[in-house]
């Protein structure tokens, strides 16, 4: 009965005449819809951000390799090392988006906004590690050599901390969201594997099936 119905379905589907022009138009629109890529401006922005990220990462590597002859060198280097890891991770994410023209997690606007927040965070952290922290340390050792007075550097420290705090909270939120997305993604991957195993198991048990409509090409 089931097969008869499917045969009737297949026969019925063959009854309609199709206007080739309308069909071609539909095919083109559908293809554009499925394989839609980011706008070229978005890709360009992502590409530029990725290039900026690469340049930043390279400069961080050089700074990590340079000796600072400083008592707080260890703190600065550890901070810069973590910063480098973050920069590499986000540069890869945004670089892949620029090359593939697709955004894996979320849509284009949140990604661009996220990129701006991350850039702010990285630049503030970098400024703090390179300029503010060493100078503050020097000031704490001797207040005589401060070229612009100690107040300037204390105000600078407070401002930088505020910026780091502001961008840091946003970045932490974004990182948490990316973590959730990855978690969701890995759950889907696991589910996919389970389904494929079940299908493979069923295919071994069942005789070959000639119903074309049920086949899903992989």
């Amino acid at each position: 009965m089931k097969n008869e119905k499917h045969t009737l379905r297949n026969h019925l589907l063959e009854q309609d005449d199709v206007n080739n022009h309308a069909h071609d138009q539909y095919e083109r629109s559908l293809r554009r819809m499925i394989h839609r890529k980011m706008h070229w401006i978005g890709r360009l922005l992502c590409g530029l951000a990725a290039l900026g990220g690469i340049a930043f990462a390279v400069s961080l590597i050089f700074e990590l390799c340079e000796s600072m002859h400083h008592d707080v060198e260890v703190f600065i280097k550890v901070g810069m090392g973590s910063l480098l890891l973050c920069v590499v991770f986000y540069t890869i994410l945004i670089g892949v988006s620029a090359i593939r023209g697709t955004v894996r997690f979320g849509s284009v606007m949140p990604v661009v906004l996220g990129g701006v927040i991350l850039s702010g965070f990285f630049i503030c952290l970098w400024t703090f590690l390179i300029f503010v922290l060493p100078k503050l340390y020097e000031l704490s050792q001797s207040q005589i050599n401060a070229p612009m007075g100690p107040d300037f550097w204390i105000i600078g420290m407070v401002c930088t901390f505020l910026f780091i705090g502001f961008f840091g909270v946003l970045t932490a939120g974004m990182t948490f969201m990316i973590h959730l997305q990855y978690k969701h993604y890995s759950q889907i991957q696991r589910k996919l594997l389970e389904i494929e195993l079940t299908i493979a198991d069923m295919s071994e048990k069942l005789p070959p099936d000639d119903d074309e409509s049920a086949e899903v090409p992989r």
Binding site: M1, K2, E4, K5, T7, L8, R9, H11, L12, L13, E14, Q15, D16, V18, N19, A22, H23, Q25, Y26, S29, L30, M33, I34, H35, T102, R104, Y185, I188, Q189, K191, L192, I195, E196, T198, I199, M202, L206, D209, S213, A214, E215, V216, P217, R218
Partner: protein
């Protein structure tokens, strides 16, 4: 068992679609587009409109695929979206035609149209065109997908009793139409 396999394959397709697998999206489209087009064309006179509605249907499906929680409802969900798109497209015209009066509840009726129509797909196709849109709609869903009454009721937003009633009269009418066609051929 066959049905289970289909369900699992549907689930696999949906999971792959949610992953952003474009090939899976294409597979989903290829698997259902002919059936959806046939259904839409039974409710829309103009072929160009039918293609546009099908395209809009896929747009809605691609946007909402993440929200489909039950893969076993994929078929019902697709037809439901297609129907809503038809309603949006021709709001007023088709909505009035498809909004049907509540029919009387009827007892279960044996399905004698399936075996009769099997050899006469062309006649069934022509006869479908002679039915009223509500009858054409339920019978098309019945012939294409062999959906249970509850599923058809969910697609067309009506009660199971109404679907049962429409199906009963639709079968009677199509049988008459086919007999008339066969008589004319002789």
């Amino acid at each position: 068992m066959r049905l289970n396999k289909q369900l699992i394959q549907d689930e696999l397709l949906i999971v792959r679609c949610r992953q952003g697998d474009r090939q899976a999206l294409e597979d989903l489209v290829r698997l259902y587009e002919k059936r959806l087009l046939y259904y839409i064309r039974r409710l829309v006179d103009n072929e160009q409109d039918a293609w546009n509605i099908l395209q809009d249907t896929w747009l809605k499906v691609l946007r909402a695929i993440d929200r489909l929680k039950e893969p076993k409802l994929l078929t019902v969900w697709l037809y439901h979206i297609a129907r809503n798109t038809i309603m949006d497209y021709r709001r007023g015209k088709y909505a009035d035609i498809l909004r049907f009066q509540q029919d009387d509840l009827l007892p279960d009726i044996p399905d004698d149209t399936a075996s009769m129509s099997l050899e006469n797909a062309q006649l069934v196709h022509l006869a479908l065109g002679q039915l009223s849109p509500p009858h054409r709609e339920v019978l098309t869903l019945h012939f294409l997908e062999e959906l249970p009454l509850e599923a058809i009721a969910a697609i067309i937003n009506t009660s199971v009793g109404t679907v049962k009633s429409r199906l009963f009269y639709a079968r009677q009418n199509i049988k008459k139409q086919i007999e008339k066609e066969m008589h004319n051929e002789k």
